[in-house]
């Protein structure tokens, strides 16, 4: 295995799950999320040499992932804002438990948020530090804090509404 491949393997192992969550939160479709993940890491592989010595490589990967998700526009409409696609339901139907239902509901609620809100909140839930989220999204930290506060409130309300149904 070449040095580049080894570095890429480590980067993939450290970041792929979180990036997948971001893509899944954005699209609400596991197949599309996998496609977007693949597209993101293709760009990472392609430009790895340029960023090998940068300390915040995860910020850079997130930035690519966010832009890749945003470019994915046309098909996004099919996913709908309030419905989970059969894909995601099917994938989780294997093991129907209370936990799975809760995760399903959570994704359903995230799908009801605006695009930028979906991206920001998945990063918040994956415990990405605020300065890094600000750097990725290009929003000032002060403004981001206000946004996050609102999104948290909105998502919690949506979730509780769903649970009451």
């Amino acid at each position: 295995m070449s040095e580049k491949e080894q570095a890429f393997q480590e980067i993939f192992k450290a970041n792929s799950k979180k990036i997948y969550h971001l893509c899944l939160g954005y699209t609400c479709d596991s197949d599309v999320a996998n496609d977007l993940l693949q597209e993101t890491f293709l760009k990472v592989w392609q430009n790895l040499d340029k960023f090998r010595n940068q300390s915040m490589i995860s910020t850079w990967i997130y930035r690519i992932a966010v832009n890749t998700c945003l470019t994915y526009l046309k098909k996004e409409k099919r996913a709908g804002k309030d419905e989970l696609t059969p894909n995601i339901i099917e994938n989780r139907a294997e093991e129907v438990s209370e936990k799975n239902e809760q995760v399903e509901t959570l994704y359903k609620c995230i799908a009801q948020l605006d695009e930028n809100e979906r991206i920001i909140i998945t990063m918040v839930m994956d415990e990405i530090p605020y300065p890094e989220i600000a750097e990725v999204s290009g929003i000032s930290e002060g403004n981001l804090r206000v946004k996050i506060h609102r999104i948290k409130h909105k998502l919690t309300e949506l979730y509780n509404q769903h649970e009451r149904l």
């Binding site: 969550h21 966010v66 000032s140 946004k147």
Partner: protein, 201 residues
């Protein structure tokens, strides 16, 4: 009733994992890079053959009218234009690094790129078709002397018929579909741009 911390707990407990391996990505990269090279080579080869035929005709055949050479020169220029545009587009796609920009800048780049593509597909393509028709028409003038008026008229009518069908039906239909697609895409991009704008709240 759940609070946000409970939602984070649910989020962290999820078992969703990507169905992707890092090796697949490297393989995919190598495959797509090969595909792109094949596409470029094929287009270049096809255009090189066409241009070689035109150059051969222009240099070897002794034309008695200057209109034939001018016609061939125009057709040749159209070929150069076509291949240059293809190369610029492919290069731009392959070397686009705006994915590392801030989301707003990336969205702006996509909007600009779509608008340029739209101009290329509509206005520029109309000019390209008209120029190609002019070149062909000029070339046909001398053919009329050698092949006889009937053959040239027939060739002219067929060419004109094809260009009319193309211009009034296919191009119009294509432009309408493109417009609809672009308008929808631009509206989406503008909505996103607005969401990411760093406004004072």
């Amino acid at each position: 009733m759940k609070d946000f911390d409970s939602l984070v707990g649910i989020w962290n407990a999820q078992k969703t994992t990507p169905k992707l391996d890092y090796k697949e990505i490297i393989t995919q990269y190598k495959t797509s890079r090969n595909k792109l090279s094949i596409k470029i080579t094929r287009e270049l080869l096809a255009m090189a053959i066409a241009m070689a035929i035109i150059a051969y005709l222009a240099l070897k055949v002794e034309f008695s009218l200057w209109t034939s050479q001018l016609g061939l020169l125009i057709i040749f220029s159209c070929g150069v234009y076509f291949i240059t545009i293809q190369m610029i587009n492919l290069k731009r796609i392959a070397h686009s690094n705006t994915l590392f920009d801030k989301p707003q800048d990336h969205i702006r780049f996509i909007k600009k790129f779509r608008a340029q593509r739209h101009t290329q597909h509509t206005t520029n393509y109309k000019i390209y078709s008209a120029t190609l028709t002019l070149g062909t028409a000029l070339y046909f003038i001398e053919l009329a002397y050698h092949l006889g008026t009937v053959y040239v008229l027939l060739a002219g009518v067929i060419t004109l018929f094809w260009f009319s069908i193309y211009y009034f039906y296919f191009l119009k239909k294509y432009v309408a579909t493109e417009n609809e697609k672009f308008e929808e895409m631009i509206a989406d991009l503008e909505r996103l741009d607005l969401q990411f704008r760093d406004i004072e709240e």
